[in-house]
């Protein structure tokens, strides 16, 4: 417990730093928010000063920062310049789409990457090992925005199997319950809705899963190799246990410790990947939302969005840290 509290306290300065970065961002970009909002029409100096005062932008920076922190503590992440909606509520609306995509991708990456990495380690040097590691290096080197375009060209354009973009065919409509379309479409009971959702989901999931899959497979293999060389493995073998039991129970359980950390660290990669994947597939999630906000110079949305994302990444890393402490008692006691 003390270990967890310590970890959280350690994050406080970083958290403050993140708010400083987000706050600095909007002041560092060329032009001030009022000029940006006015756009190409321009604005009279008098009106400009009036709006600056209205937004509190005429105050000294430190005062602005304090009121910014005050707002954040009250759950106010600013109002979008473009849609005039609160940034937080826009984020909440779009986040389930990204979460659903990211979950599918990570499930794909773990369920293929972990067994493949383990098998590669057990059959070290075999053709399977070599081709799995070759493919993993290929995946790791992949420009995923191109990979996505290639898959769309092949499966949507040429073969016509999957839709080009979006989350579901426009002919279906149901009220969001969980925000996860896969679940909502089943709950709605509409015929064909679920398969439409699944067909929309498959290519983006593959694209987003590519790099985490490569990393997880490689990491699992090397963790497994390390474990296989340990003394207790020899003991297990000497006791005459079946090789399935040796590998599946003794080796796999110990090899999973570093692998779980690796999986946790993919959150950051998933968000970076989501920015590209959502742009290619017009997936209505936070990645596409942020890119569009940057293009429209909707910097309040960008400021709020990056702050929420950074906090999210930090929270997940904290969770992984704690989980790591729980499954590996040597850490928490040290």
């Amino acid at each position: 417990m003390r270990f967890i509290v310590q970890k959280i306290l350690y994050l406080v300065p970083t958290l403050i730093g993140i708010t400083l970065v987000a706050f600095a961002f909007i002041h560092a970009i060329p032009g001030d928010p009022v000029l940006i909002m006015a756009g190409e029409r321009g604005i009279s100096p008098a009106r400009h000063a009036e709006l600056m005062a209205q937004l509190g932008l005429d105050k000294p920076l430190w005062q602005q920062y304090i009121s910014y922190i005050w707002q954040i503590l009250h759950g106010d992440f600013g109002i979008s310049y473009v849609s005039k909606e609160p940034v937080l509520s826009e984020f909440m609306q779009l986040f389930p789409a990204t979460l659903e995509l990211a979950c599918c991708a990570i499930v794909l990456a773990v369920f293929i990457g972990v067994p493949a990495g383990m098998l590669a380690a057990v059959k070290r040097g075999s053709i399977f090992d070599q081709s799995a590691m070759g493919l993993s290096l290929l995946g790791y080197s992949m420009p995923i925005f191109w990979w996505g375009m290639l898959l769309v060209m092949l499966f949507s354009g040429y073969l016509g199997w999957t839709p080009v973009s979006g989350r579901i065919d426009l002919s279906y409509y149901f009220e969001p319950v969980t925000g996860f379309m896969l679940i909502d479409s089943l709950l709605s009971g509409e015929e064909g809705a679920f398969s439409s959702v699944a067909r929309h989901l498959i290519l983006p999931s593959i694209v987003l899963a590519t790099i985490p899959l490569a990393v997880i497979a490689r990491q699992t293999r090397s963790a497994m190799l390390e474990v296989l060389g340990e003394d207790y493995m020899r003991t297990a073998r000497a006791k005459g246990l079946s090789s399935f039991r040796i590998y599946a129970v003794h080796a796999a359980r110990n090899a999973m410790i570093p692998v779980i950390t690796t999986i946790g660290l993919q959150v950051s990669a998933l968000i970076a990947g989501a920015i590209l994947t959502e742009t290619i597939f017009s997936w209505p999630g936070i990645g596409k939302w942020l890119v569009e906000a940057i293009f429209k110079r909707d910097y309040m949305t960008v400021q709020g969005g990056i702050l929420i994302i950074a906090i999210l990444v930090m929270a997940v890393n904290l969770l992984v840290d704690i989980l790591y402490g729980i499954i590996n008692p040597r850490i928490s006691k040290a």
């Binding site: 961002f25 290096l137 080197s141 992949m142 375009m149 060209m153 354009g157 080009v164």
Partner: protein
């Protein structure tokens, strides 16, 4: 006098010996050698681009818009890999694109290496408050996914190729700082450092002449990773419209233009620039793996 010159010869001999051993370790891995060959091929293409490319990268042939590659019906030897939407020769653009990608890789990896190592070594060597302040700053940068951070920074320093490069450098910095700091911390308390300190070596000498060379192996491996990551990151920014601009034949920017052709049969516009990125990045990663194995025999696969 003779003593000194003999010493010189033997140290040169030692270096040659080390180099031979290194090459032995490196060349044992087929992948690494293949990676190196592909990489050198790209370097040659980039250097010889003005000689190799049939046309300038921005010249338009209005009567040959969207012409397919030579082996497809409608293709011609005038444009071996076809032309793009405004009639520019794909082959020439791809060839000149190699210059940009290699330049991006070299500049980003080089500058990240220099700044990251300098900051990391200072942080690891001094420890205490300096270290704490630097590492906290790096923690903050690490809280943002690298591509997102680069995307934000590029809007501050200015969109375009140089903006994208600068943004990527800053986004990659924390990884180098952390790695070199950890390496220095591991070396700092070893006997040879204490010996050098007792012999009267100053801080600067201890940091950069005594300790740093012993941390080089892992840093060089990391630099090859930064090289390939930089190409991916800057081309991703180009794809998102924040990197290199219009007539520049940067591969990522070419792919941004190719988005309109994803559902058409103009496959060469979509396929070729990405294939070039993949090949170059793969080559660098293969060579990087080989470097790691050659530097660190303990990690060797078999």
């Amino acid at each position: 006098m003779t003593d000194i010159s003999q010493q010189h010869i033997s140290s040169a001999g030692l270096r040659a010996q080390a180099l031979r051993e290194f090459w032995y370790g490196f060349s044992r891995s087929n992948g690494a050698v293949i990676g190196l060959i592909i990489f050198l091929f790209f370097v040659a293409v980039a250097v010889l681009a003005p000689l190799l490319a049939p046309y300038a990268y921005d010249v338009r042939f209005d009567n040959a818009v969207l012409q397919p590659p030579v082996w497809q019906s409608g293709g011609s030897w005038a444009f071996p890999l076809g032309t793009d939407a405004i009639g520019r020769d794909m082959l020439s653009r791809l060839i000149f694109g190699a210059q940009y990608s290699l330049f991006i890789g070299v500049v980003v990896a080089g500058l990240v290496f220099v700044f990251g190592v300098a900051i990391g070594v200072v942080s690891g060597f001094f420890g205490g408050k300096t270290d704490m302040a630097i590492m906290r700053l790096m923690d903050i940068l690490l809280a943002f996914p690298a591509l997102l951070l680069a995307l934000l920074l590029v809007n501050i320093v200015g969109r375009g190729l140089s903006g994208a490069i600068m943004a990527t450098i800053i986004a990659f910095l924390p990884y180098f700082v952390r790695l070199s700091r950890a390496a220095v911390q591991a070396e700092k308390s070893k006997d040879y450092v204490t010996a050098a300190r007792l012999a009267g070596a100053g801080r600067f000498r201890l940091m950069f002449k005594t300790i740093l060379p012993n941390c080089m192996a892992s840093l060089i491996v990391q630099a090859t990773l930064a090289f390939s990551d930089a190409i991916l990151s800057v081309s991703a920014l180009g794809f998102l419209g924040m990197g290199a601009t219009a007539p520049t034949p940067e591969w990522g920017t070419m792919l941004a233009d190719a988005r309109d052709f994803v559902t058409t049969d103009k496959w060469w516009i979509v396929t070729l620039p990405g294939l070039a990125i993949l090949l170059l990045v793969l080559a660098v990663n293969l060579a990087g793996d080989g470097l790691r194995d050659a530097f660190d025999p303990k990690l060797k696969r078999s």
